[in-house]
């Protein structure tokens, strides 16, 4: 019952948000938040449930974006077939990278994801014939059901629909037997093996799932920005995604969404008033780590519980 209420609340919030915001510029930012919230939710599968920190997750934002832009521009793919192909490519890539990265754990895992991310980033710079190098690739927003998606508010609703669907799936996912096992491999890998679980395969499946949902964010990204360049796959982008999850609260659903909202807002809104917006971000992050090391959402929940008690 509580879940139904929360779901209805989220749906109503997403539906009325464009009416509350002061203008098209802010509706556009709200759409960006939804894109990065989707990315952060996908990375949360690895970090929050699996305890595996990755510094290469922007790959799954970038590669499907490139794939979508290239397939629609050069191969005559339609919206649906290009989107499905892009997500499939990102997912297969995640399976491949997962096998490589899971040769290690902890810091080793982090460094391998970082290295793989840098390789893909370097390729996108150098393989000019395919990626356009520094100039990137352009894409157009899909025309759906005859709607004019070049209108920020119309496209916002496309993004909100995708985001709501992802959130619903991940909410189902979060309480599932698979995530219970994944959290088990995070807390007690040795015991999990002794109970007969295949720890390596559970982790790989989590890596692939994170790559899949990350790729969904990638398609949403290229629709939103209508442009993809190596910048999207930079280390900075991967680190920001990591920061969104940790800042908001890893292992929760609201946390990564809140983290994505804060970081995107600081980046886009505060940067027009403050020059050193990345310093501001750093300052916020230090405060959170000092006072709410579990992240904002679990931190505020605990505060509310203490207030109530």
């Amino acid at each position: 019952m509580r879940a139904v209420m929360t779901g209805a609340g989220v749906a109503v919030f997403l539906a009325v948000l464009p009416w509350v915001l002061p203008g098209a510029f802010y509706v556009g930012i709200a759409t960006h938040v939804l894109v990065f919230a989707t990315l952060a939710l996908s990375l949360n599968i690895l970090i929050g449930y699996g305890g595996m920190s990755s510094l290469g997750h922007a790959v799954y934002l970038g590669v499907p974006s490139y794939a979508y832009a290239w397939l629609t521009a050069n191969a005559g793919f339609g919206v649906a077939s290009a989107a499905i192909s892009a997500v499939a490519l990102g997912t297969v890539l995640a399976a491949f990278f997962g096998v490589l990265a899971l040769r290690a754990s902890g810091l080793g895992f982090l460094m391998i994801t970082l290295a793989l991310g840098q390789i893909v980033w370097g390729l996108s710079y150098r393989w000019v014939a395919l990626t356009g190098g520094d100039n990137g690739l352009r894409a157009t927003r899909p025309v759906m059901f005859g709607l004019d998606t070049s209108d920020p508010t119309v496209f916002y609703y496309v993004g909100a629909a995708v985001f709501a669907a992802v959130l619903l799936c991940l909410w189902q996912f979060a309480g599932s037997p698979f995530v219970a096992c994944l959290r088990g491999t995070r807390d007690q890998p040795r015991r999990m093996r002794m109970l007969g679980h295949n720890v390596w395969l559970i982790r790989l499946a989590a890596f692939v799932a994170a790559g899949f949902w990350g790729s969904v964010a990638g398609v949403l990204y290229v629709w939103d920005y209508q442009f993809i360049s190596p910048q999207t796959m930079s280390l900075q982008q991967s680190a920001e995604a990591l920061l969104m999850v940790v800042l908001g609260g890893a292992g929760t659903l609201a946390g990564p969404v809140a983290g994505a909202a804060i970081i995107t807002l600081v980046k886009t809104v505060a940067s027009s008033y403050v020059d050193r917006w990345s310093s501001l971000l750093g300052f916020v992050f230090i405060l959170v780590v000092m006072f709410m090391p579990q992240g904002l959402v679990p931190g505020f929940r605990r505060m509310a519980r203490r207030r109530a008690a």
Partner: protein, 248 residues
């Protein structure tokens, strides 16, 4: 024809750098047997368990479960062949409920764990079996408690419940009575006593009252070597036991 041993270890060897932790250990445990492993601290008892379960890889020798060679097998394969263990140092999921802990043990060798939807903690099939496992160790009403909120003795019994939920054929118990108060000790001893007779059990335990009442045969280890093996009476009466274990 002699029956196939439940657990047959031959010439097992393990070195850590210059230290030989396990030196040509050979032990045969028959189906349904209750075996006690004794020896002073550092004798290599827990190392032997870790070699049997695959937490550590042996350098040489053979480990067979019901005739099946498993020295190079993964832990998962060994568990699927009927092996389960408890840990001397509690290895539980501390932020979860007792029911959740036992359920994790139940689904270890099933496909349920791959289902990416639905509510794990609300599955009726798992809940009933988990309740049953908790009941066997006297934790019937404790299912909804979080592990972190239970007493040490209750956690020890949860360790046992998880191993029992796996329906093992060979059960390794690593000091199930360690650190317990007298009252808790009686509770765990009662659980040990009630273990099914068809489960082959190897026990490491320093509490001799309970251990001697439990086991029929005893193996004495020292410095990674088997010093002596025999019936309870033989080993207790042997002067080497006094020498090695009790100290002269």
């Amino acid at each position: 024809m002699t029956p196939v041993p439940a657990l047959q270890i031959e010439g097992l060897r393990k070195r850590f750098g210059g230290v030989t932790a396990t030196r040509d250990v050979s032990i045969t445990v028959m189906p349904g047997e209750r075996r006690l492993l004794i020896g002073p601290n550092g004798a290599g008892k827990t190392t032997l368990f870790n070699l049997i379960t695959g937490d550590l890889r042996a350098d040489a020798g053979s480990i067979r479960l019901f005739g099946k060679e498993l020295r190079r097998a993964s832990t998962q394969e060994r568990v699927r062949s009927g092996l389960a263990r408890t840990y001397q140092i509690l290895t539980l999921f501390p932020q979860e409920t007792l029911l959740h802990n036992v359920s994790m043990a139940l689904i270890g060798t099933r496909k349920v764990g791959w289902t990416p939807w639905g509510r794990f903690d609300r599955r009726e099939d798992l809940r009933a079996a988990s309740h049953a496992a908790l009941e066997r160790v006297g934790l019937a009403g404790f299912g909804r408690r979080i592990v972190a909120e239970t007493s040490y003795g209750e956690r020890r019994r949860l360790e046992l419940a998880m191993a029992l939920a796996q329906a093992p054929k060979v059960l390794l118990l690593d000091e199930p009575l360690a650190g317990l108060s007298a009252q808790e000790r009686d509770a765990v001893a009662a659980v040990l006593d009630g273990l099914p007779r068809d489960v082959t059990t190897v026990l490491i335990e320093h509490d001799m009252d309970v251990a001697l009442a439990f086991a029929e045969r005893i193996t004495l280890l020292n410095f990674g070597e088997v010093i002596l093996e025999g019936t309870r009476a033989e080993v207790v009466a042997d002067p080497r036991t006094r020498e090695v274990y009790l100290g002269e």
